[in-house]
Every structure is written in C-alpha cells, then in structure tokens.
Amino acid sequence: MTILYDEAQEAIAVESRRVLDDKYDLQRLLDLVDVTGSFDEELWQSAVEQGWTALAVPEQYGGLGLGLVELGLIAQNLGALTVGVPFLSGNDAFVQLLLAGSDEAAREAWLPRIAAGEAIGVAALGEGTSPFPAAPAATVVDGKLSGSKAAVAGALKADAAVVWASANGKPALVLVELDDTMRRAVDSFDNSRLYGELVFDGAAATVLLEGEAARKAALKALARLAVVTACEQTGGGEQAMKIARDYALERKAFGQPIAAFQSIKHRIAEIYGLVELARANCIDAAARESEADFVLKACAARLSASEAYDTAARDAVQIHGGIGVTWQLGLHLHMRRARSLSAELGSPLFWEDLLVSELEGATA
C-alpha cells in the first residue's frame, strides 16, 4: 500500500474536519470532564450520520469497506479537537476481532449494527496494569465468563465486547453481550472516555478463537488499536502545537511577541519535529497492516505519538503561562487527553518492550 494519500483519502480528511469544526463546542467539552459516564451525544450522532461507524466495516456487513488509513485520518481530526466520543477505536477493534474469528453468525448479528451506529463494541484485552497479559485471569468455563477486565474507553456504553480470556488452559477470544455485565465506572480525569472496568460473573461467552490463533489476532487488534490511537494522539499533538504557536505570536512580553524568544520558538520547533515523526510513523504503520512487521511499526507509531502529544500538551500549557492553567481556557483538555490516551493502552514501557521483542524476533 502506498504511503501517499489518494484523493478520496484527502477528501475524508478535509470533510471530517469540517464536520467536527462545525460541531465543536468548548463549553460542552468542559462540562463533560467532571461527569462520570458522560459523552458528547450530539457529536456522536453526527459521526454516525457521516458514516464513520461504517468506515472500516466490510461492505458485505453494511460498511464502507475502507481501511486503517481512512480510519486514521478521522482519528487524527477527533484527536485535534479532543472530542468526547470514545467509540471509534473500540468499535474498530471489536470489528477486527469478529472478522479474525470464524463465527459468521456473530458477524452478521453485530457488524451491521456497528456500521449503522446502533451498537457499540469494545475489545477488552487488558487486566490490572497490563494491556495484554500473557495468561489472562478472566476465565471461560462451559461457555461462562468470569473475571474482571481493566478499564476500556467506551466501556460504560458498550453493548458487546470481545474479551481476552483463558479457556481450557489456553488463551481465547470470546464474544460477550454486556447487557447484564457489571461495569465498575472509573471516576477519571478525562470522563468523556467512558472508562469502566468490566466485571463478569458467569456471563454467556461465545469462543471466537483459541490458542495461538487467538493470541495472534489479539496482538494484531491491539496493534491496530495502537495505530488508530496514535493517529488521534498525533492530531492532538499537532493541534496543541498550533495553539501554542498562535498564542506565542499574539502574546507580547517585553515589547515583542513571546514567539521571538528562542526558548519558546525552538520549543515549538521541537514539538513540530515530534509531531511529524509521529505522523510519519502512523502513515508507515497504517500502510503495512498486512505485512509481517505490522506490530513493530505499530509500536513505533504508538511510542512516537505518545511522546509527541505528551510533549505538545505539556509545553503548550507552559508556553501559555498563567492563562494556560485556567479551567475556562480549556487547554487542559489536551493535557488530560494526552495522559488518558497514553495510559489507556498501557504505559510506554509496555510498548517499548513489545517493540524490542518484535525487533529481536525480526533480527534473531
């Protein structure tokens, strides 16, 4: 796959940004921060109308049949505006895992509803501090799932999950409807991510994949989740950088714009570099989904995008001085989102380790 965008892709990027800019409302986003279980319903409605939920669902299931590149472009725009709708990446991981399995009935039951925006899915892989435990403690016995899975974005509103669990002493991916599942809501510093732990107590579970096939599918889904999230982080980082640049051009101190001071000017240039490296890694990874080194490339995208967003958000606040730490300016939305996106898929340390393991595999 080429790493240059084609015209259709350019159009998706421009059009999705236009829709989001239209709907953007800072006050609404600020209001979401403190309320556990809240999200931006109005914007989500637009997303469904725009067909973003159908984007990466195969055409035979009512989707548009597009891929990771297109999804990444939307994610980048969502990230830029710190939107309060956390369903894009979770839906996609759910879809991918159903596609990886061989349960056609499950696909027919869920994929059209996901595409139409009538249902929300998540992938529940992590437990405790690990985003992908080698031997998951959640266990399926006789088709019943028990155990708890770490907080996942969107979990508080999700209708179904694909869960990384143990079955017959082997790892497995199982499909669970969440109607009766207890969700332990997380009161978070970024509540519109709808974080909740999922606590299963004998929930009916359909096994999609088992053993090594399950592990491979889960790792690939995690990597794809990482790439979509990295695109979101890159978009956030770029936007924080631009906000800092614009402020530095406008704000004066000692008779000149603060952008004229190299401590500000060079810092913004460094952030630009981090953002462009993240973007380049995202583009590279998105184009290599079917290659053997996809997980490796996803790790690179994840690491550089986390660093870019983290640095951009932190420095944008610092460059703003006092005004940057006020509630009402809302720059802290980027600071919060940078942190939540960094933590929700596991720490950078996890991704560093995974990258090196992949690299060792490749060069051994």
Partner: protein
C-alpha cells in the same frame, strides 16, 4: 535566642498536639469555607502558643527569632498538612512590606497581629492580563485625585483576593516615562467602594486566583508605599523576600520514598516495577537531583546561621524540583496503565499522582516561569546578556500593545 535544636523539639511537641484537631486528616471532606475557618482557628492557636511571627520584630507582635527558626518550624509544620495555605502570601510579602515601609507603627502592629492570628488576610495585586512575566508592563492606572489617588484597571492571578481584607498593589502613575519608571506602590482596602474580586477556577477546579477590578477606587496619599514613581523598586523588594523562603526538594509533590513504595506495589510485565531498569533509573536520577537540592538548602541554612550570604544556587530549587515532580508524576500514572485513569479530587498533591500531575503546571508558572528563572540564572549569576527588549527606554505609552 533559643537554640535551633531546642526550638525544633518544642515546635514538634506543640505541632503534634495540634495534629488531631487541625491536621490533614481533620481537614478531609471540609468545604472551602470550613477549611478557612479551621485555618483561622489554627493561626490563633499558633499565635497563642508563641509560634506566630517567629522572625518578626517583637515591637510589631512577632517573636524576634531568626529566619532559620521560622524555616525549621515551617518544615515541621508542612509535614502535618495544616490549613495554612490562606495565610502564606499574606504573611510572606505584604506584612513584611508594611512593617518596612509604613510610618503609622501602631496601625502596622494592629495589622500584623490580626494577620498572624488569621483574622485578616492580605493579598498581593501585581500581575495583570498583559503583565505576567513582564511585571513592569502593567496598566492599572493611578491618578492624582485631590490629596489622594484614584485607581482604575484590572489585576489578574491575585491569589486569595476574594478572601482578603487588604492588598498591596502596583499601579502606573505616569505613562509618559519608560515603563519601569512610571509605577507607584500602595496598600488598598479590599472592602473599599469600587473593588471587586472575581475568583476563577484553575484546571483542577482549585479556586485560588482572582480577577480583581478597580473602578474609581479612592486612596489617601497615606496609603502610598515608597515614593511616587518608585513602585518598581518596592515591587522588586517584595519579590526578593520570597527568595529565602524554604523550598521543597520534592517540588511540593510526592517524595522519592513514596515513589519507591509505589514502584514496589505496581507491576510491570508481571514483576514489581521497581525491578525494571527504567524505574530504577527514574528513582536514582530524581533522588540525586533532590538530594542535591536538599544539600544546597542545608548549606544555605548553615551559611545564614553563620551570618554569611548563601550562594545563588538556591535559585535552582523551584526550577529543578517542580520539573522533577512533573516527570515522575507522569511516569507513575502511565505505569498504572488503565488503572491509572482514576481521579480523586479530594486527594492531596503530595499523596496522589494524578492530583500532583494536574496541579504541577501551575507550579511551573507561579513564582516565575521556568523561562524567567533560566533568564535570571543566566543574567544575574553567569553574567550573560539580557534578552533583546524593544521596549527598553521607550515611554510606556509609545510601546506597541
């Protein structure tokens, strides 16, 4: 004068008897109003016990001990988490300034004692929307008005202004001269006609800072502090007082032992995180940095005790410690992965990583942004040139806004 070790022992004894009524645990769950009221009672008790105004002159109601005695007491006091935050600025800058500059000594004594007992609170009205790091760029207008003055304009970032009874303020009395030269310094009654403090929220919902509007606020000339046009000098003297205030090598965030305990508990790849090289590196590097800051502080204390001027390296404290706190807080949150997403708004920033991380950007800006501190080190200590300043020597009203 009482010997420092003896004083420390006495202070510890007294503080430990107060911990139950006024300490961290007693404050949990209080509303801001209740916490302030508790703070006022604590200040009164402290004053009665002889620990108020430790290094202030006896003639003004203080105890006449050394600055070191004060620092020793406050270091012990900080451990227990008393509600003293409302009185720190009040007693830190405005009170010393009126003691130094105001002529009506009886009035000053009344104010000092009321402030020490927590009955009155003072604020410091310096920054403005267009004057943060560049303090001399301020626009608050002070016009001659009969025998007195009239203030019009806006201040910003004023801590505790909404709780304050008095304030010290710098205003522009002459816009026709270069910006440092046209300022005059006053004290103001925060309850006077035309003063309005509007508190606003910081990113962690904390309500400390205010916008303060002045609309034809009348002052007598007796409220002037220092000469007309000499306000910048008094303002600098005010800021210099901050210099020897005890810093915190942990940047007012969690300590290294706290992180070590955390890193023992949290898992990384199925093992305690503390066994991982990256975590060991973070602990070691931050320990070394903070140990260096503590050593610098201890040396400064010893030099002051010996009657010497401490070295300029004390100016590293805030710069280095707050950055260290920021990075370590981020790492701690990330280490917990999805489990690190929870936030308890009641947790304190010395005991909770998310609280520490959310409030640390304020620390990197308040009391001098990193960039200004680096400039100060570069210019005052190392003799490097000032930045280019197009406003230098230009009459204030001719500087492009």
């Amino acid at each position: 004068m009482i010997d420092l070790d003896e004083f420390r022992a006495k202070a510890r004894d007294w503080l430990s008897t107060m911990a139950g009524e006024f300490g961290r645990e007693a404050r949990r769950g209080l509303s801001p109003e209740q916490d302030l009221a508790l703070g006022r009672r604590y200040m009164a008790a402290k004053y009665e016990a002889g620990f108020g105004g430790i290094n202030m002159p006896v003639e003004f109601g203080g105890r006449g001990l050394s600055g070191l005695h004060k620092i020793v007491f406050e270091t012990e006091e900080m451990e227990i988490g008393f509600p003293t935050v409302y009185f720190g600025i009040s007693l830190g800058m405005p009170i010393p300034i009126i003691m130094k500059f105001c002529e009506d000594k009886a009035w000053v004594r009344e104010r000092v004692i009321a402030a020490l007992r927590g009955e009155e609170i003072w604020c410091q009205l310096f920054s403005e929307p267009a004057a943060g790091s560049d303090l001399a760029g301020l626009r608050m207008k002070a016009e001659q008005d009969g025998n007195g003055w009239k203030l019009n304009g806006q201040k910003l970032w004023t801590s505790h202004a909404h709780l304050a009874d008095y304030g010290i303020i710098v205003a522009r009395s002459d816009p026709n001269v270069p910006k440092h030269k046209g300022l005059t310094y006053f004290w103001v009654d925060m309850h006077a006609q035309g003063v309005e403090a509007k508190p606003f929220e910081l990113l962690d919902h904390e309500v400390v800072c205010n916008e303060v509007f002045f609309d034809d606020v009348k002052l007598t000339d007796g409220q002037r502090i220092g000469p007309v046009g000499g306000g910048f000098g008094v303002a600098l003297a005010t800021l210099m007082i901050e210099r020897y205030v005890a810093g915190d090598a942990d940047g007012f965030g969690p300590t290294i032992p706290f992180f070590v305990d955390f890193a023992r508990d949290v898992e990384l790849n199925g093992r305690p995180a503390i066994e991982d090289g990256r975590i060991r590196s973070a602990i070691a590097r931050n320990y070394a940095l903070r140990n260096g800051l503590r050593s610098i502080r201890d040396r400064a204390f010893l030099m002051m005790e010996a009657g010497m001027e401490p070295g300029p390296e004390g100016s590293l404290s805030k710069l280095a410690s707050v950055r260290s706190r920021q990075k370590l807080s981020e790492l701690a949150i990330d280490l917990r992965g999805a489990a690190g997403l929870a936030y308890d708004p009641d947790a304190g920033s010395k005991e909770d990583w998310v609280s520490s991380w959310l409030s640390v950007p304020t620390g990197r800006i308040a009391g001098g942004a990193d960039e200004m501190l680096l400039n100060t080190i570069a210019e005052r200590i190392l003799g490097l040139p000032q930045d280019h300043r197009p406003d230098k020597g230009v009459p204030f009203n001719q500087i492009p806004a």
